[in-house]
Symmetry: none
Subunit: 409 residues, 2 copies
């Protein structure tokens, strides 16, 4: 349960719950529900009662600050029918905290030392609001600060280890296969029979995003389920091998980078319709300078000719969005960017610029690479969507995947 009006009016995105869900899940705790409610007594109490009626553990973040709208402590004291009392450990912590910052401790700050009598207190080593652990009728409620790094420290250092002491958990095991270039419906057709055969205890999900699809298999129960999950993961991977670029949290741009780095190859990028987004993806990876030289973003005919040596006749005869133009872009980029491999892209991102022959979403890709004394080039045509905000990341992911496949041969 996350508490705060700022969540309900969308001023703040609740990232705490996802982080907690991941950590809890990894330790075998089953997260049944994530809920955000207002800074008010009634919804907090109602939600707490409801969640406790169906679950063993309720973790609460937020509403512990010193300002008026933070009422979590008062509400928990009312729920556990006890009063707020001064806690000496918190008080000492607050005194040190303000001393270290050369700031006087205000009355508002003093309030932070008051906690419900019924709880065990954990000092916040990253801030001022302490955490509170309540245990009653075999059920645990923990209230933590809403500031993400304070919550994360408290969870990692105290709450997760203590929960694992109090409760025995199910074994949970996940594998996530990362794919690109093949849509969810097509993947589903390819592996339908494998999925139908999944034994009890293994669940399955597709998570699509801009030309990439993550396929997740999750096993729970006895430790033996791990072998089953591994077995079925390998079966799925085998079936869709060409689409698979990695596992777990690997980034497509990092995977491409590793392949280049291993082979000692340098990459250059010539972008038109993606306007720098592919370069941004590549350079988001720390250490990308090992395999990445640079890019040109050529939005005009002149830039394509000046920087990539695209023949003006090619542009006049075939247009900027054509197989011939991207080929010349990729080839020119080998020299301009002193690269072994180049990726070139030109297309119509939209909303304007489409024609009957080349509608919005038409995109040409080319990959050029040095093969001895000559330069080899591969091309690919994409037909994407009507939307600029989709086409840019979609084309970029598909382009990086095309590059990956070209390098792997």
């Amino acid at each position: 349960m996350t508490i705060g009006d700022e969540l309900l009016i969308g001023q703040v995105i609740d990232t705490n719950s996802a982080w907690m869900g991941k950590e809890l899940n990894a330790r075998g705790f089953d997260v049944k529900e994530i809920v955000s409610v207002s800074d008010q007594k009634t919804p907090i109490i109602e939600t707490l009662e409801r969640l406790l009626s169906k679950n063993n553990i309720v973790l609460i973040t937020g509403g512990l600050g010193p300002t008026k709208d933070d009422i979590t402590k008062k509400t928990l004291a009312a729920y556990y029918d006890c009063s707020l009392v001064e806690n000496t450990d918190i008080l000492n912590h607050l005194k040190k905290f303000y001393e270290a910052r050369n700031r006087p401790m205000s009355d508002t700050a003093y309030e932070m030392s008051l906690v419900p009598e019924a709880c065990e207190v954990f000092i916040n080593q990253k801030g001022t609001a302490a955490s509170m652990w309540f245990e009653k009728d075999g059920k645990v409620v923990v209230s933590m600060p809403g500031v993400p790094y304070e919550m994360k420290d408290m969870m990692s250092r105290v709450v997760l280890p203590k929960l694992s002491e109090v409760y025995e958990t199910n074994f949970i095991y996940h594998r996530t296969i990362l794919t690109a270039g093949v849509p969810e419906s097509k993947l589903a057709e390819l592996i339908d029979d494998i999925i139908s055969d999944l034994p009890n205890g293994i669940s399955f999900a597709y998570l699509p995003s801009f030309g990439k699809v993550r396929i997740r298999l999750s096993g729970r129960g006895e430790k033996g389920i791990q072998n089953q999950v591994d077995l079925f993961t390998e079966k799925v991977k085998e079936r869709i091998r060409p689409a698979v670029f990695g596992e777990d949290k690997e980034e497509l741009a990092a995977v491409v980078g590793e392949i280049l780095a291993e082979r000692g190859l340098k990459l250059g990028i010539a972008e038109s319709c993606t306007g720098g987004f592919i370069s941004h993806q590549i350079t988001s990876i720390p250490g990308s300078s090992r395999y990445y030289n640079g890019s040109v973003v050529t939005y005009s005919y002149e830039m394509k000719s000046d920087l990539l040596d695209v023949a003006p006749e090619t542009l006049t005869n075939t247009g900027a969005v054509s197989e011939e133009t991207v080929k010349e872009m990729a080839q020119g980029a080998i020299a301009t960017l002193r690269a072994d491999y180049t990726l070139a892209i030109s297309g119509i991102a939209g909303p304007g610029g489409g024609t009957a022959e080349k509608p919005v979403g038409t995109v040409w890709l080319a990959v050029a690479y040095k093969n001895g004394d000559q330069i080899d080039i591969k091309t690919k045509l994409l037909k994407l969507t009507q939307s600029r905000e989709i086409n840019i990341p979609l084309a970029s992911n598909l382009a990086l995947n095309f590059l990956r496949k070209c390098i792997l041969g």
Copy 2:
């Protein structure tokens, strides 16, 4: 209500609810609860019943994909006690969708055309999964796709306008002032006295994001509050004028673009540490080719010399991250990119590459522009954070804002 195991195990952060909360709030709807539940019939039905018992409207996202783990449609059909039937509009949409992509429509894809008989259907113009609107006993349930851009299109185009037709809401009026380059704490000092004087019924928030801060004033109640909000908004703007780049949803890159377009100027960009992200921001704006020629991303010394004519001695003597180097980058880009204005940036994004003298987060900016026969150059030093993922968007926003202020003079 967002549906999906991936939310509970923290594989995906629920950003939909915050976006929806913001939009609903802006139209006078009060969001009481945000909840994420599993892809299973029982929690979906229980949550739906509970939410409907206390609220007028329940908006659902997720669980509409073509694959087996998506059971929202079946569950809603069960809840409304009706069967799934083929919808001709969806079927035609799917046929067109697959035709446009030159892909056959599979049986799995066909399933997308089945919807509960009890609902009104809205076609998904950004994808395949249609939205469903249920109305019963004066209460509305809407099921939308979980893919954020599909949900956003559906909400903006259909659901929000229709909700405003069905329900009468409180009058709410917002103004949002967009600022860049001045941190929240400094803005707070500048306008503290104005904010202290805000009358009842007007609330106030700072929304910071990567070097930009949005300042929002919201009035609710009677229609007369609008004048009050306008009055205080103008007071705030007057006080912090140099930091203000726009209002409402204006993009900094679009504001810069409009200034260039109005003056008939062409922009070129030379990026190092931001690796293409500034170019991406500029080219995310439709029609940016009116004022944008192109970019170079120069990650190596060689590229800086080859493409931007930076003197090798400058690089050797002052390093890639220095005032002298960015000046030469900006100057060289005027010729290379045939531009009237150029923006150059070079810095240490991290995590590696920092030194005692130039720690991670050190970034130099330069803006060059043609002034008659000569080229004038302005520079600025930024000292940012330890984190690459923060430094890239932060440096990009501050660079665009520096460019904006240089052009405005």
